[in-house]
């Protein structure tokens, strides 16, 4: 399984706009971490966004998380004000992992 994270927008949109997508390949993870990622990705994929965009948020960030697993690609596009709790947990895991690697 391969998970790609693209972060856009925010107060620092000018900086975020220039940053490439970041990739986490489960094949490079140890067994525990790979299982964590799989569980979080599975939960995020089956949970719809918690809200539809109101158009009233300013400086919020938006995220595109692409999950490639066994030849199937799932694209999740959510933002700070629309994300499900499950999407938020996957996002948090990805950011913590990407920071420490």
């Amino acid at each position: 399984m391969k998970v790609t994270l693209l972060q856009r927008g925010g107060l620092a949109a000018g900086i975020n706009l220039q940053r490439p997508p970041q990739v986490v390949d489960a094949a490079t993870l140890d067994g525990t971490a790979a299982a964590e990622l799989k569980a979080l990705a599975d939960a995020a994929m089956v949970t719809p966004a918690s809200a539809t965009a109101t158009g009233k948020a300013r400086d919020e960030m938006s995220y595109v998380i692409t999950i490639e697993d066994q030849g199937r690609e799932t694209i999740l596009s959510q933002s700070d004000t629309t994300m499900s709790a499950e999407f938020g947990k996957l996002l948090g895991w990805l950011k913590r992992h990407l920071k420490s690697h």
Binding site: I15, K56, L91
Partner: protein, 410 residues
Amino acid sequence: MRASYCRCINCITPPHVLKKLLDNSDTRVRDAALRTLLATSRLRGERSVRSLFASAAAASSHGRRTISDCSNSTFLAAATLARSEDGPASGDESVNRAFEGLGDTRAFYSEVFDRDSLDGQGMRLNAYVHYGSEYNNAFWDGSEMVFGDGDGVLFTDFTKSIDVIAHELTHGVTEFTAGLQYHNQSGALNESMSDVFGSLVKQWVGKQTAAQADWLIGTDIFTPAIGADALRSLKEPGKAYNNPTLGRDPQPDHMSKYVNLPDNDVGDNGGVHINSGIPNKAFYLAAIGIGGFAWEAPGHIWYAALSASTASTEFQEFADTTYLKAGQLYGTHSTEQQAVLSAWKEVGIRISGVRTLAGTATRMRQAAMTNGNGHDEDSSDVARQIEQLSRQLAVLTKEVAGLKSKSKAH
């Protein structure tokens, strides 16, 4: 009864009518009266009006603050109360910084523009700190502010810069005034309002003149290691940062460099945080041209233009409005109006219907001076404002009569 009330408006001086309304038991009536009173800038400095304001002050919640702690969750509903308006200081510096930043911004809008909180009616100010994981951002969710801790690599805590806090709060002010749509040019203007007033709050707190200010946004939210000056520079858009990790500041400082980006999330809604560099630079140039404290004449001109703008206002219309407002507030051909004219010209926007041939401005100013220092325009300004106030009072009186007859029916 309603008829006699309406006739009455013509023979009572406005402050007397307003005083009556301010004593009304209905808070909606008091707030409306207060707003009307403060809408007339000429009356603002008068002692009689000030004392009316003080007596009615208790009517509003005056932007009472509540800071909540997200404990690194993205789910705001689960956040816990960390500090309230009358509660003790927190042991958490992020909480206290957010609390103070909200207070400074609230004080700025109240003291500089006589605006009671974001909506002008004492709206409560709610903020959340420690949002999410490694969150490099702060945002306005449409009614509340949210601050991240930063990832510690690029960014640190977003409550550390007062201009960032004021930037987010100003999104609320813009929403309650012009309501500028968050796309393309109107969106870039929306962003520019937040940068302009965000910077003004920082300058006001530091009591800095336009010449002394650094005109940078977010100098304190970068980690020391990253070596960036700021998120944005109003003085030099495009030069806030330039390094291998962050890239180069993409803000244009002139219409000829306007950046066309897709109007979607990935394209920053048509580059709202990018093209804001153009109106940002115009404000900086106007402030330097006028001189002194930028929250005085320059801030008042921009605030009046924001209040007179609509959801679809673009750069040209906004520039024209600042020119118009500068004339109304400080006089046609005043140095303030000339500074506004040349500021926009320098970023590639010519004010509609104004000839900008070399020397014209000076000749016009000289002509105005020989015609009696523009006193005629000043007195007609006052007359127009009084007329406007009377109209507002008439509307208010009708509203009050309506409320009274309603409460009678109950």
